[in-house]
Symmetry: C2
Subunit: 397 residues, 2 copies
């Protein structure tokens, strides 16, 4: 008997808001309460909070503030167990035990698909908690409350969750949109300079490949941004978040096809984080990655020396390093797992299929290429090394 | 500064074929080769095979057949490492080490998002391998080759992946459609009677709530189905698969809202599997669950005694048990974790929100209710107990 094939075909709609506020857990701020009150459920909603330990250190009253907030809005909200502290930073994504602890909490506190697992913290904690939320009961509702520039304008507002495994960044993960995102600018005031600055790298990245006007905004205000002028940073975060959301919605949100994430500068950034054992933080690594692929774009004749000099100047005014010593170890041996160039292969494998690297055809215009000339990339690394010693971009000798 | 909220909104399209064939790995069968050749990639595609040990025992030449098939189609296919044997049956979903082993294989053999992780086996192996495939690199392509009636007509063709945790079925999982499904009827010939029969329970389930004509088909052929007439089984699987695919596509495929999976008879089935330490297999448990909720529907006046008798008769002709001794232990103590009635609470928690149980308003018509009368359910259990002693459905005394 021959039976016809069946073709399954369907669409799934996803939507979530990204809110901007200051003082999310002040009892008088109705935002969180209102968003959950509109979920169509019956009160009170169970919420389990996972809090980045780094944030808790900077905000020692936050846990009691959360408890007070929930108590004050007991008609809508209910705590599911005590606020859990999660060790912050990329290292939390290397600890399977933390995911397991969150899953145990989901089990112990009977958090179901209509309950909420809220994460407050930097991108790493959001990634890790989001991963646990996405696989528990095939997905409990995930609230993201990003506390860093990087997570507020990029990683925290997207659809990806992940943890590291086998020494590889984001080896495990999936696509699972959050229920809602709350960007609370109050958290930015207490950031270390490194983390304040780090998040700007993702804004630079997206401006360089998509929006020259946004690059000019950052160029004009680079010194003020470095001096931590909060209103400028708020504008930067809002615009950067908007560009990232548009990219996700306009393309192939779950990266099923050949559509790419906004990953300019990222192949080397991922590798540098790993090579430096995460001494170099993600935003810092992205800044170096941007510098590297800008130099490479210039060496390929895609970017003028003036444009390259502008990019390098903005990075430096913001206070970024342009180079790290790990970049030259085993550099010319692309097959060596400790070589920066090995990152190209890992990058290809992680996304699958053909190698695709974003370069610049001028400021504001990204272009995808499928081949990288190792020798030219080595030359680009050496050029960055010279910049780090004070040499400035100039026409080739 | 007050900045407007951003609303993210997008749709993701999913599609995959469900093919029907016999002898998928016969070198002369072009199906598998052709499907992968059309993936838009460049040859050869890496495929890693995970094979249910139970299937391997019944088909001792399968591994070498797979190797020969891949070699014969080397322009399109390439093996990524040796065929991995996975201990079959529900127990494989209780072993986190198996997921870990698959992830290690993904890492070791450089299986990327454009490579394939193929699972050959019963529903449990497909669920487990599918889960690993869905989280590795945020999703490598998953080929499902279901070998049982149950997986060919239900679990293997849908969008769910899962493993068990904390003693709870499917506690971990997600929604991730397969790349393609291949139903190979040749595997059905070697099934144990229990597994041949077990899969019919899901067909009965979907017919009772959706399609009276399909129920009449099974009623007319119950004896022939029990006698293992393969062409009838092929028709049953095709129609059942079609109904399941329609339900997924027509509703809320990722169960984000209040839309429900086709889970008639399943709240008690899940609990019975657990209470019997998986001695009772899923299809067998579903048959009991169908009987139980049919009796309950009758006791509520939704189903006539004649309709109930027809359902019970079909289940018996097919060879199903209607009752298991685990059903009466701690029965009246719904708070006891070993009580069948505790399954109602677990079922609610797993899906979240309000309790929703499917009952029957006549054959072919499901109806959702949000409350279960414990006393009436206890009475339904006792009635099944009496049926198992030879008493037949009749009007209440």
């Amino acid at each position: 008997m021959s039976l016809p094939s069946l073709q399954q075909q369907f669409q799934v709609s996803f939507s979530y808001p990204v809110h901007f506020t200051e003082g999310l857990f002040e009892v008088s701020n109705p935002l969180l309460r209102d968003v959950l009150a509109q979920d169509g459920g019956r009160a009170p909603r169970k919420v389990f909070f996972a809090l980045d330990s780094g944030v808790a250190e900077q905000h020692p009253h936050l846990t009691s503030q959360i408890v007070r907030y929930v108590e004050a809005h007991a008609d809508v909200l209910q705590l599911s167990g005590p606020v859990a502290l999660i060790p912050g930073g990329e290292q939390c994504k290397n600890q399977p035990a933390l995911v397991q602890q969150l899953l145990e909490a989901v089990d112990a506190h009977h958090i179901d698909r209509h309950s909420y697992l809220a994460a407050i913290g930097g991108g790493a904690v959001l990634d890790m908690v989001g991963y646990a939320a996405s696989v528990a009961h095939r997905g409990v509702r995930h609230l993201r409350i990003p506390t860093t520039v990087l997570s507020q304008n990029d990683s925290g507002i997207g659809v990806k969750n992940s943890v590291n495994a086998f020494g590889k960044k984001n080896f495990l993960g999936n696509f699972a949109p959050p229920y809602a995102v709350f960007n609370d600018f109050a958290f930015l005031r207490t950031l270390e300079d490194r983390d304040w600055r780090g998040g700007i790298a993702e804004a630079l990245k997206v401006s360089l490949i998509k929006d020259a006007a946004f690059f000019r905004f950052m160029q004009a205000h680079a010194a003020a941004l470095a001096a931590r002028e909060l209103p400028l940073m708020q504008q930067l975060i809002h615009r950067c978040a908007e560009l990232h959301l548009e990219h996700i919605a306009g393309g192939d949100a779950f990266e099923q096809g050949s559509s790419r994430p906004l990953d300019f500068g990222h192949w080397s950034a991922h590798k540098l984080e790993q090579l430096s054992h995460y001494r170099i933080r993600h935003g810092e690594a992205v800044a170096i990655g941007i510098a590297l692929d800008s130099v490479y774009s210039h060496l390929q004749g895609r970017l003028t020396v003036a444009e390259l000099a502008e990019i390098i100047a903005v990075l430096e005014t913001l206070g970024f390093e342009l180079y790290a010593p790990e970049m030259v170890e085993h550099l010319t041996d692309a097959g060596h797992p400790q070589s920066l160039l090995h990152g190209l292969q890992e990058f290809r494998e992680h996304l699958g299929g053909q190698l695709t690297i974003m370069l610049l055809d001028g400021i504001g215009t990204g272009v995808e290429v499928h081949e990288i000339d190792d020798k030219l990339m080595v030359e680009a690394v050496h050029q960055l090394q010279r910049y780090s010693r004070g040499v400035r971009p100039s026409a080739p000798l």
